[in-house]
Each structure stands twice: as C-alpha cells, then as structure tokens.
Symmetry: C2
C-alpha cells in the first residue's frame, strides 16, 4: 500500500501541506479554485489522509475492541455471540465505530492488548483475575465488562444467570425429575493464574442456580453429574456421548448454553434417546435455533442483543467524557417448549 502522502499532493498541486489538510478537514478555509485543484490531484493520486497518522494526533481511532478470551473460532461457533455482536454492531453503526475482534495472540490476550489500537474495549466473559483484566485496569483503559465481574469504577452488563439457571432446574424438578446431568461451559483456558478461580463468572453463576433449585427440593446435585465442554454444537454432542459412554443414564439435562443443548440433542438421537420422553433438556440463551430444532428447546431467555447494545452504548458514551458507571443485571426468564416435557406439564 505505497500510498501517496500529503506532501506529494501538495507538491503536485503547488500548495502547502496545510492546504491539502484543509481540503479534507475544513474545506471552507480554502478558495474554491484551490480546493478544486487539490482535490483533483488527490483523486488522481488516489490519495487519502493516512488514518494512522491522523489518529496519532486525534487520539481517537473510531474503533471499539472486543476482547474475546475464547478465540475467534469459539466465537463464531456459538450463535449466541452472533446475537450479542449484532447488538454491539448496531450501536457501532449508529456512532460510526468499527468493531475490532481481539482474540488471544499466541495464546495470550495480554499480547493482543499491546497491539490493538482502539478507543475502548468490551470484554466478553473475561474473568476478574485474568491478567488482561488487570492490565486494563492498571492502564486505566476505558472498558465495559460483559458477562464479567462488576468492578468498582467499571460499567458492567450482566444477566441474572443465577436466577435463570435456578428457574431451569426448578422447572425440571417440577416435571418430576430428581436428577440431571449438567453440561457446563468450559471457561477459556490460558492465562488463568489462580486454578481455584477457574470456574467463576457465568459458568459458576449458572451452576449455583442449578444447585440452589436442587437444594431447595432437598435433592443432591453431585459433582459427578457435572461435565464441562466447549460451548459449541460439537462440544455438547461430545459431552453427552462421553457421559453416556461413561455409564451415565440421565433422564434430564441442564445445558448451560443452547448450542450445547442442540449438540446434545444430536447425540441423543444418535443414542436412540427420545426428547423429551427419555431425556428432558433445558438450555440457556434462547438463540434462534431453539425454535427451529425438533422438538423446540426449552430454555432460559436472556436479552442477548440488548446486552450488546447496552454495553456498546455504555462504552461509547463514556468516550464523550461521561464518567457514569452503571452495573446492569438484566432479567433471565424460563421459556418452556417441547424439549422438557409435554406442554401440559
């Protein structure tokens, strides 16, 4: 990209670099003829002000960074993220921001952070003690956490994972199930220093919700019934298959994400299990696929797109000097469809 520079245009147009700059940023300060000539030359050369040089001065790049610890592949393998990104993208479009996906570089989010030129970040599912989170705070970079911790000076957008999960489990219990296999979301690996804190955030909150419901009913939910997998279709499929091959014979399944549930439905049909009769399933997220699959998937609805919008808005508003810090916890509500039993209960 051996682009012409401002100097080239200035020379060929017989004006100073200032004039060229004005032509693009404040045309009114140039005489009609000068403007015309400059633009003419610029056009011939295919010249356009170098955005990098420009940002160096403006201290603004018009880019919103999305910190995705799970990596790009996992991101696009889960439709939930598509909905989330849809919301974020919508606000970006409105405010003329571009979206930069920032996955770990060589397994390290820290490294990515060092290289990305953005005006601010939205972290997605980034845990409180992740090094990247700590760097962000130390740098005093503008950022908003999405599905993450509610930090003192940082806006956060979350959903009532605990409550939603509890409803899901309670629903199964109401339907007469006294046990369930839990298919959990394995957190992004990598830079978790504190092994103990590995299952925190969304994954932990949902598990706690399941636990609470079982506890309330005086039922156990032992560790052996909890399996973690990637939040992808393959992840869910494999997890159920593995559990089955390991001897598990669950009558009900609590999937921490819909895409896991969808994968599990695959596995179920492969195993000859009928949903919901042999295996009742409740997911989480309420992605579009829940209505397409057969039977339709019971799930916990969360306002994914709205979450994205909110987080993006919070971040972009903050640019304008708004120091308002808000911690949102959006509601999650159970939606009963066919996969958890007959509609009649």
């Amino acid at each position: 990209m051996d682009m012409a520079t401002i100097a080239d245009v200035a020379r060929l147009a017989g004006v100073s670099r200032t004039a060229v700059s004005f032509a693009f940023n404040d045309p009114s300060r140039l005489s009609a003829e000068t403007l015309q000539r400059v633009l003419q030359v610029a056009d011939e050369l295919g010249y356009y002000p170098n955005p990098i040089a420009r940002s160096l001065i403006n201290k603004r790049v018009g880019v919103l960074g999305l910190l995705i610890p799970q990596g790009t592949a996992m991101l696009f393998a889960n439709p939930f993220f598509a909905e989330l990104l849809g919301g974020i993208g919508q606000i970006c479009d409105e405010h003329d921001f571009s979206l930069l996906l920032v996955p770990p570089v060589q397994g390290s989010l820290l490294r990515s952070l060092a290289r990305a030129a953005v005006d601010g970040y939205i972290t997605i599912g980034l845990e409180e003690h992740h090094p990247a989170m700590e760097l962000l705070r130390r740098r005093k970079a503008p950022f908003v956490t999405l599905d993450g911790p509610a930090l003192p000076q940082i806006s956060a957008v979350n959903v009532d994972d605990f409550g939603g999960a509890r409803q899901a489990a309670a629903h199964l219990i109401e339907r007469g199930h006294r046990e369930a296999l839990v298919l959990g979301i394995r957190p992004a690996q990598g830079e978790i220093t504190d092994g103990v804190a590995a299952y925190t955030g969304v994954s932990a909150a949902r598990l706690a919700g399941y636990r609470a419901a079982f506890a309330l009913a005086g039922l156990p939910l032992d560790e052996g019934r909890i399996r973690y997998c990637d939040s992808t279709r393959d992840g869910g499929r494999q997890a159920l298959l593995d559990a089955w091959n390991g001897g598990a014979r669950p009558g009900a399944l609590l999937a921490m994400s819909d895409i896991i549930a969808v994968g599990a439905m695959d596995a179920a049909s492969r195993l000859g299990l009928r949903v919901p009769d042999d295996l009742a399933i409740v997911g989480f997220d309420d992605i579009m696929d829940t209505q397409i699959c057969h039977p339709a998937l019971s799930t916990v609805h969360q306002p994914s797109e709205e979450k994205g919008c909110l987080a993006a808005r919070l971040l972009i508003d903050r640019q304008g000097g708004g120091q308002r810090v808000e911690h949102h916890v959006l509601p999650a509500t159970l939606i009963v469809r066919g996969s958890s039993g007959t509609q009649e209960g």
Copy 2:
C-alpha cells in the same frame, strides 16, 4: 486513556527513550539491570508502547479489514457469515492478525475506507462497480474479493454459484415440479450507481443457474416468480408471506440462501403448508441449521469456512510480498434432505 508516554518512562527510569524502546522491542540490547529498571517503571506507570505511533513507523498494523456492504446487522443475522468469518478468523489467529469489521459509515463504504487502518481488505459480496471497489483498485490497496468479481490483478475466491443453483433447480424439476418461486438475495443498497447492474454477483449467478435448469427442461421461469429479500430469517419469512398474500401458490421454492429458506419454512408452517408435500424447498449454503430444522433442508453445499480460510490466506500471503494472484472457484454440490421430497424420490 491518558497513557504514560515513552518519555515519561525514560525520565523516571533515568534512561533515554531509545533504551525504553529497546526494552520492548529488542531487550537483548540492554543490560540486565537497565532492562529490569525500565520494565519496572513501565509496569508501575502501566505503560505500553502506543500501537498507533508504532504502526506509523512499521507501516503495519496487524489488522485485516472485512468490507461488509450489507452492514453489521445483516452480517450477524445470517449464519453463513458466521461460518465464513470462522474460517477467516482461524487464519487470522494463526498469523496474529486481528479482524476489523468495516460496515458502511453513514450509508457509505467509501467513508469507512477513509478511516480504517488496516493492512488489507477482504471484500465480501462487493460488486464490481461499487465505488468502494473502484477506490480500492485506484489506491492499489491490497485486497482479495470474496463472492465478488474476478479482477485482473486481484485474487478472488468464489464458489460455483451458477452450477450449484442449476443443480438445485434441476433437482426440483426431476421431482416433478414445473414451476418454483425464487427467493433471491437482495444486494446491499447504497452506492450502486448503475441501476442496471444492481443484481449482479452471487445473486445474478444463482438466478442464472436456476434459469438454465428450467430452460433445459423447456420450462419458463418468469420474472413474476422472483422475489428479492434480505438474507435473514425474517426476510425469508416475510417474502413467502408476501408472495402468498399476493396470490402466489407455489409448489416449490428455490431460496438463494439457507437462512431465507429457514424463514420461509416458518412462514409455510404459519400458512398451514406442509413441507415438502405442499411446498418443496431447496436452499443454498448448507449452514448448520439445515440439519436441525424439520424436515431437514435440502440445499447446495458450499465450503463456507474454507472460502474464508482461502481468502484470508491469499491476503496475508500477499503481505509477505507474494504477488501471486489466484482466482478460485470452489465447487458447490447439491445435498438432498427431507425438504424437497421423500428420500426415495
């Protein structure tokens, strides 16, 4: 983001700016103690080299831009793109590139192009005479077209849209259908100057394929049976509903994308139509949902993820000075499932 600068660190560490720079870029050139001291101070200040200033010199930002004329919303509303982006993202991860989504700004892709700091672009579904395409060429910016024209000096990745579509239509004809409603993909609006060229690219190629099959069978495919809509679930649903309300009573449906087909299946069930008996449907893309929905969707498989990988690789290789220009046309193959008739034919 009032970050500390290199000068601050230099001052506090009692060294020159060069030393600080070396500490981050070529530590071996510093004595152990100096390095240690610099890093120490930098850490305290939360200092990190400003990526923008850095790129200004390196002439490299490590960012791959994705030009999306349809806008971000449409992008995430179609799972096909998720698969495509998954492929692109995979290669980006391997080469430590980030992905920047570049949708139109204020309805103009040109404006976006002016602002984005990237090392190169992948255009997605961008038509040959789109102003943005022309600017890219005039600027001699490195880019690769995906689902776009095969330009002389520019690598291109395409799929055999014509052949795939022809197979789809031929299949329907074989099944005994003598007519079909076509649900086409409405191209991104905006800066198409030449009204006549509006339906070119993927949309035109697939239509031509449908036409060819019908022509071969000596059947007509009149304009009145072609409707264009957004390539989203809502788009497909609405399109079939509109056609129906307009008096159309198709026995078969050719959807130019699977997500349109999925939407149409919604509409069909709402209209009390049974698929495939009352309405046979064949889609295009072979997204995951085709296997989830009921009945499973017959479609034309295209290697979406591979397309993404290939395009990204072509672009990134080109960075390294490789001037190899390649025009790829990947195969598209019909996959018959339940939505187009009994498996037995």
